[in-house]
Amino acid sequence: MKTAADELRDRFDCWLRGELPADAAAALLSVAASDPVLATEVAAYQDLLAQLRALPPAIAPEVDLWPGIASQLQASRARESRQRFRRRIAALAAAILLTVIAFAAWRTNRKQPVDARLEAVPVAAFSLAAYAKTDQTLGTIRDELRRAIEARQEKLPPETRALVFDNLRTIDRAIAEIEAALHAVPADPELARTYIAYRERQIDLLRQANRIAARL
């Protein structure tokens, strides 16, 4: 059974796509503002949208990096259209990362000889910067949900509480391993996508636990 909050979250999808009329969007945001958890999520989405809007216009690099990047972006968009709303953030994050990588690669490569460009490595700083901002946005949602479940944890039976927190630790360990890999290979978009997907799953788990705890 969907809660009122879940019903609202369903409508976020239309809102993020810009499909809601202005008055409907305003009403949605007004209702969401009355719930601290939803309000935090809305703020985080708005922050992420602002990051997207602030990105420089796409500039194709001069060397053969672009076809690969473009195909990954296209694949990401195709998947996005098939998958549920919760994956949208992962795709957006990947798009941020890939676009920044493309831009950075173009800037790095445009004044170098072709051979030197093919060894383009110094995108790490750019990718990590974009990734850190997305990380922060998802972290805000996660922290709010974690606070909510911790506030409700007395409602959960001890064994279920232990199970939920054990599984959150499982995800934390996986995230830590991906983070370590990202430090080793910072420009790897697959790793970045995996990292964001794991963070999304962590949020999904917290949402699910909160939803059930709220019913108890």
Binding site: M1, Q83, P157, T160, N167, I171, A174, A197, L216
Partner: protein
């Protein structure tokens, strides 16, 4: 004063039943063929059977300490509810005395919604939408429901429904789906997920530590997507299954009886493993990801 009179009138008509001792129930009310039937019973059992009659029949036994039993209806639907003392809901364990057993017969086309805490719920032969929410109670849905949505915390879930879109959520409760043909979505934290079906068009499973297995045949077009962190995934498919496979694991292993000769790649970095291959047109996509658990594709 008006409310007291109304309540007295309801009692006189037998629509609300204050309960002081264990009470047998046998009530019926007319109901539309495709109306909504909502049932609330926190402890005990709820069984719902679809039938051809245009009425709802409730039979069973109410717990001795239940505060109220209501059985109401209007042109939109029927509501059945057993109210229990708040302290029962706060109790650390379930006392057998909390249990009410309801057998409810509904027009087969009804939309059925059941809410419970610890009650075991069973729904059979309903062709409308079925929605069940429990905390610890197990749930079993069988029959040609038009859609099935179940959420539990620890209760096991079993669904035998043909052609129904299914949306199943649990924390630690196991999930068994038999006869899956349409769209199936399952989310658990640690509950195991077993899906058997044929002509499946869409399966989406997410779990953190629950083992996942799908056994059966796929439709010509569609997708199967499974994500776990630390639990293995196994697919058992007909040997001739045409599909595009996209398997990834960070530190697990991939074993496949499909795509003979296609190597498991480690192209990104160690220990990441990937298998991308195709056994036919790209109309059915299979995507599986785990963090540190094995992925197995078996052919039969």
């Amino acid at each position: 004063m008006t409310r007291h009179l109304l309540f007295a009138a309801l009692l006189a008509f037998g629509l609300h039943q204050p309960v002081g001792a264990q009470v047998q129930i046998d009530r019926r009310r007319p109901a539309p063929a495709k109306g909504e039937v909502s049932i609330d019973n926190s402890f005990g059992t709820v069984t719902v059977h679809g039938w051809e009659q245009h009425e709802v029949l409730v039979q069973g036994t109410l717990a001795a300490g239940a505060e109220d039993f209501s059985f109401d209806s209007d042109k939109e639907g029927t509501s059945i509810s057993v109210d229990v003392p708040e302290e029962w809901l706060q109790a650390s364990g379930e006392d057998p005395a909390f249990r009410s057993a309801l057998a409810v017969f509904v027009p087969a086309g009804s939309r059925v919604e059941v809410r419970s805490v610890n009650a075991a719920v069973e729904v059979e032969a309903v062709t409308g939408r079925v929605e069940v929410t429990t905390v610890n109670g197990g749930v079993r849905v069988a029959g040609p429901a038009s859609a099935v949505e179940v959420e539990t915390m620890t209760g096991a879930i079993e669904v035998h429904a043909l052609a129904a879109p299914m949306d199943i959520h649990s924390i630690s409760g196991s999930v068994l789906i038999e006869g899956a043909t349409g769209e199936v979505r399952v989310e658990t934290v640690s509950g195991t997920v077993h899906v058997n079906g044929s002509g499946l068009t869409s399966l989406e499973v997410q779990t953190t530590t629950g083992e996942v297995e799908f056994r059966g045949a796929l439709a010509r077009r569609g997708s199967l997507e499974i994500e776990t962190f630390s639990s293995p995934v196994k697919l058992v498919l007909p040997r001739t299954t045409p599909a595009v496979f996209d398997l990834k694991t960070f530190s697990g292993n991939i074993k496949s009886e499909f795509c003979a000769g296609t190597p498991v790649l480690r192209k990104h970095f160690e220990p990441f493993r990937e298998l991308h291959c195709s056994t036919g047109p790209d109309d059915f996509e299979i995507r599986i990801t785990t963090h540190d658990a094995d992925i197995t594709l078996a052919a039969e």
